[in-house]
């Protein structure tokens, strides 16, 4: 008993115990996470003063309307969406392709799964620097492969000098680093499908393609939806690779929404505007995730 002198009912003993269990975590969670998020919402309605102690001016939705007219916000938003619509299907399709194949082999499943997962566990900082190295010009590895081995270009590409090419390394990195994560999840899902389903389909004369469309994909659908939602959230969160590979350059053409937010907040010390940008991302992510879960899941899967 926690209070031996007082006889508590089972019910109130449970309530008191519960609060003791959640209190330490809850305090940290509220002070260092919830409070800052709510504070960010408040700041987004203010012209937040740089000097502590100076009054902050309430300006309503001005930060938000400024964001709508800011051409760099438009560029950042376009890049963020581009990153998401390229890297999410890129990761999912390649991950499914390899998970499907690895599921078929008799030996070495765990070995391959381990290899494919290694990029996932490596720090974003390290792989971003590594990709920056590969895409150097004129003597980088990628230029060498394209120029001397594949002969698809006539002269080395100055990847980071042109807005048109500077974002490509970031996209390639996003796909490369993420394949293993989806692959491990898909592989686990594929292994739950009973072999009898395929045998029965084979007796009915189903082709491999038919089995994929009619058995495999429908049965792992909840996993596909889960992966899609998680990767979309991840896509909108792209930040470290942009900061370390291009830092938004050249001329802010590869800025994404979080990198632009960070630059506004910590380079230009425009906290109110930065907070508004952060909230725009949050609203988009929560809405998109909600819509995906709502519409892509069958009713019986929502619990």
């Amino acid at each position: 008993m926690i209070f031996p002198s007082v006889r508590l009912s089972r019910r109130s003993q449970q309530v008191i115990s519960a609060w003791v269990f959640i209190l330490p975590g809850l305090l940290l969670y509220v002070i260092f996470l919830i409070y800052p998020i709510i504070k960010a919402l408040q700041m987004s309605f203010y012209e937040w003063s740089v000097m502590p102690g100076d009054p902050n001016e309430f300006i309503g939705l001005v930060n938000y309307s400024r964001a709508l007219r800011d051409p760099i916000v438009a560029v950042s938003m376009r890049n963020t969406v581009l990153y998401t619509i390229i890297t999410v299907p890129g990761q999912m399709i390649l991950a499914f392709f390899f998970a499907f194949l690895v599921d078929k082999v008799a030996r070495g499943k765990i070995f391959f799964r381990t290899l494919y997962y290694i990029p996932v566990i490596t720090s974003w900082v390290v792989v971003s620097i590594l990709f920056r190295y590969f895409f150097q010009s004129p003597k980088g590895l990628i230029n060498h492969i394209l120029l001397d081995i594949l002969h698809v270009i006539q002269q080395p590409i100055a990847w980071f000098r042109e807005p048109a090419t500077a974002f490509i390394p970031i996209l390639v990195l996003g796909i490369w680093k993420g394949i293993g994560w989806s692959m491990v999840i898909f592989l686990a899902a594929l292994q739950t499908i009973p072999k009898e389903f395929y045998d029965a389909a084979a007796i009915d004369g189903a082709t491999a393609w038919r089995k994929l469309i009619s058995i495999t994909l429908p049965l792992i659908r909840p996993t596909l939806v889960f992966t899609l939602v998680m990767l979309m959230i991840g896509g909108f969160n792209v930040f470290i690779s942009v900061v370390l590979i291009t830092n938004g350059g050249p001329a802010q053409s590869t800025e994404v929404i979080l990198s632009y937010m960070y630059h506004q907040a910590f380079d230009y010390i425009d906290f109110g505007y930065g907070a508004a940008l952060a909230f725009i991302v949050a609203i988009i992510i929560v809405t998109v995730s909600y819509l995906q879960i709502r519409f892509l899941r069958r009713p019986e899967e929502i619990s």
């Binding site: 008993m1 019910r11 449970q14 115990s17 519960a18 269990f21 959640i22 809850l26 940290l28 969670y29 260092f32 996470l33 919830i34 800052p36 998020i37 960010a40 390649l94 390899f98 690895v102 290899l115 494919y116 997962y117 990029p119 566990i121 490596t122 720090s123 974003w124 900082v125 390290v126 620097i129 590594l130 990709f131 190295y133 590969f134 150097q136 003597k139 060498h144 490369w176 491990v184 999840i185 686990a188 899902a189 909840p222 996993t223 939806v225 992966t227 909108f236 969160n237 930040f239 470290i240 979080l258 907040a265 910590f266 907070a275 952060a278 949050a282 992510i285 929560v286 995730s289 899967e301």
Partner: protein, 277 residues
């Protein structure tokens, strides 16, 4: 028929190995570059096998400005954060999984909502809060933010696991005069070792690699953690790739060892999240 079958298997393995090579080759290239002492002179065409491999870059990186200190800082922050986050998340998860109390649903839904919101949304007020509380340039400050930031995910994951544990034993402990703390310590924690291991490893990796908060909160060069140190190192020695990669490898190798030796926990954790969705 048999020939066709083994041909198919052969092609299957070739494609799978081809995929694996593409995912692993960048690391092989990183290792090879780190072994080239004069890597700032880029050889063209790029050579995978260094002509005169040497470990000098590793020695230079390890002995250079504060690197050992950064390693210690990272180890300290990541270890303490893991212990705290696993303890606090497990306690919260137990209450959510097993106990009834007013406010339970509201708090749990707030956790689910926060899981969707990007970590960076609160970074400006977090920065101001750290400044006000004197937590800037403090490793303990970093720990507090790391722990708070990962409580939602870990609580969610552990709650899912605790719910699968049988509850008959709990009733027996209560009848024997035990309380909910006895249940937590004597039953829940011992039965959840695999889940706790998963959560610990994932959290450790996350903290070990964390860059954004460490970059924002720490100015004092002596208190940097490895990811910030490596990024700074890269800024200062941008053309000395061998040195930068040697430093990176020193940071990455412990993570790979942890991963490869404990990978069954990884897969368990990943997929339990996936199937619960």
């Amino acid at each position: 028929m048999r020939i066709r079958k083994s041909l198919q298997t052969g092609i299957l393995y070739i494609v799978i190995i081809g995929g694996a090579i593409n995912l692993i080759l960048p690391f092989v290239w990183m290792i090879s570059t780190s072994l080239k002492e004069y890597s700032f002179i880029l050889d063209y065409p790029p050579r995978l096998i260094p002509e005169e491999p040497s470990l000098n870059n590793f020695i230079k990186a390890w002995l250079s400005s504060n690197f050992q200190q950064y390693f210690k800082n990272s180890l300290f922050v990541a270890s303490i954060s893991v212990i705290l986050v696993v303890l606090f998340s497990a306690m919260m998860a137990y209450a959510f999984a097993r106990l009834e109390f007013p406010g339970k649903d509201a708090i749990f839904y707030s956790i689910l909502l926060v899981l969707m919101i990007p970590n960076m949304v609160g970074i400006i007020p977090q920065f101001l809060l750290a400044k006000e509380l004197g937590l800037r340039n403090s490793l303990w400050g970093l720990i507090l933010f790391y722990v708070s930031g990962s409580i939602p995910f870990n609580t969610f994951l552990l709650r899912g696991f605790f719910e699968t544990l049988p509850s008959e034993l709990e009733d027996a402990i209560l009848i024997d005069g035990g309380n909910y703390f006895t249940i937590f310590i004597k039953m829940i924690l011992p039965l959840s070792k695999p889940a706790l291991a998963t959560v610990s490893i994932f959290s450790f990796l996350g903290f070990w690699d964390e860059y954004i908060l460490a970059l924002t909160f720490i100015d004092d060069p002596g208190r940097r953690t490895l990811p910030v140190a490596i990024a700074t190192f890269y800024g200062q020695h941008a053309t000395d790739w061998g040195l930068v990669f040697a430093a990176s490898l020193i940071a990455v190798v412990p993570v790979m060892i942890v991963f490869i030796s404990m990978q069954r926990y990884f897969v368990g954790g990943l997929t339990s999240g996936a199937f619960k969705g």
